[in-house]
């Protein structure tokens, strides 16, 4: 069933629970067809590593309970431990710039920083918000936690902040 596949891709990519009404709109189908697709997908996933979860009016995919041990193991490993060189470079740029878009970071580093940014985000070292000028663009900032961890109270306390931030001025 075609729709069950589209539903799976949709739930897979969104990560968080999706409201039924949003799914109806995105897949352009009616309630009855959606219900059938949910049943079909749940059956397909019966013997798989992931499951369909329904809660109130939302639907999401999650790992099957019998795999919880392995899931905890990889999460712990990935979220603890040291930062990679590219994560450190990205963090340094965000700190000394104060706020910067993904493309600004990419330009300064000369390489794609998507993985590095995600690592910093999920570890709570940086946070992001939508750009006021362009909602499709995210702006990255250091978190208060990371400043505390570095032992500074404000970005002004960073060494050579004026020279370095003016050197990076054109790359927003």
């Amino acid at each position: 069933m075609e729709l069950a596949r589209s539903l799976e891709a949709l739930l897979f990519i969104s990560g968080e629970p999706v409201a039924r009404k949003d799914i109806l709109r995105l897949l352009a189908c009616d309630t009855k067809t959606l219900d059938e697709a949910i049943i079909k997908l749940s059956e397909d996933l019966q013997t798989r590593g992931i499951r369909v979860l329904q809660h109130e009016d939302t639907i999401t995919l999650a790992t099957a309970p019998e795999n919880s041990e392995i899931v905890e193991k990889i999460t712990r490993e990935q979220l603890e431990g040291d930062l990679s060189r590219s994560a450190l470079e990205t963090l340094a740029i965000i700190l000394w710039k104060g706020k910067v878009s993904r493309s600004g970071i990419d330009y300064i580093r000369g390489v794609n920083s998507a993985f590095a940014l995600r690592a910093l985000l999920i570890r709570g070292l940086v946070e992001r918000s939508q750009d006021e000028k362009d909602a499709r663009v995210y702006i990255y900032r250091p978190t208060i936690d990371v400043l505390k961890f570095l032992g500074i109270t404000s970005l002004k306390d960073l060494p050579e902040i004026e020279t370095l931030s003016s050197q990076m001025k054109e790359y927003d």
Partner: protein, 241 residues
């Protein structure tokens, strides 16, 4: 006749050569290389005019291949012109590079079409199900280390270069050079190739002069003789009987 070859944006000498060969619907071999040599040099002239001062920097890659083309041209024009094994392998290497480049260019076109009509795949954000919390690295983050890392990153940003002002350089095309050479030989001013080139240091001028000489030899206007490799080339007015 002054050529106004439109300077299309050719990325480099291989692309230029391939373009010239393909426009004439030729296949890649020594004969077709010889037949586009002149156009290749005309393009370099145009490039020289357009680029002014930056010419020397940009032209280096073009000149290496120009030298090989000269060999090809000489061989096609001068019967009995023998080349060393190394020179023969230079010609073969150029042919092979052109064939390789053609295949790459074709593959790039197909890849471009695929990019346009792609149905991309998407991955999930990592660990989205995990509630965010502050998870600093196990070792303390050292500000001076971060500072060092930032500085080394900033060093790698390419410097934006200002385009220099174009300067007008008086250029002599191969045809002009042919006329000049013919006149000076007839007047008895020029007896050797070295006389003709004079003390011009630019490789490009030497090459254009040499091509002009070859053309005249081909037409039978002059006769040229070189007793030993790397020795002077004697030129005399051809006997057109």
């Amino acid at each position: 006749m002054v050529y106004h070859v439109r300077v299309k944006e050719f990325d480099g000498p291989l692309e230029l050569l391939l373009g010239l060969i393909e426009t004439r619907k030729l296949s890649i071999n020594e004969i077709s290389l010889g037949s586009v040599t002149e156009e290749y040099f005309q393009y370099l002239e145009t490039l020289k005019q357009e680029m002014g001062e930056t010419y020397h920097k940009e032209i280096a890659a073009f000149l290496v291949i120009a030298a090989t083309l000269m060999l090809v041209k000489s061989r096609s024009l001068l019967p009995g012109f023998s080349i060393t094994l190394e020179e023969a392998s230079d010609i073969k290497e150029l042919e092979d590079r052109l064939k390789t480049y053609k295949l790459v260019k074709d593959a790039a076109l197909l890849l471009g079409a695929r990019f346009k009509n792609r149905n991309s795949l998407y991955t999930r954000a990592p660990f989205v199900a995990v509630a965010p919390s502050f998870l600093p690295p196990s070792k303390p983050l050292d500000l001076s280390r971060l500072l060092g890392i930032l500085k080394s990153v900033l060093e790698t940003i390419p410097v934006k270069q200002e385009l220099p002002q174009k300067t007008v350089i008086k250029l002599i095309s191969i045809e002009e050079k042919i006329k000049e050479l013919e006149r000076r030989i007839a007047d008895g001013i020029v007896k050797t190739f070295e006389d003709f080139v004079g003390d011009k240091k630019e490789k490009y001028d030497v090459i254009v002069s040499f091509l002009a000489m070859l053309e005249l030899v081909k037409l039978g206007t002059i006769a040229a003789e070189q007793s030993l490799p790397f020795h002077g080339i004697q030129i005399e007015h051809g006997t057109r009987s």
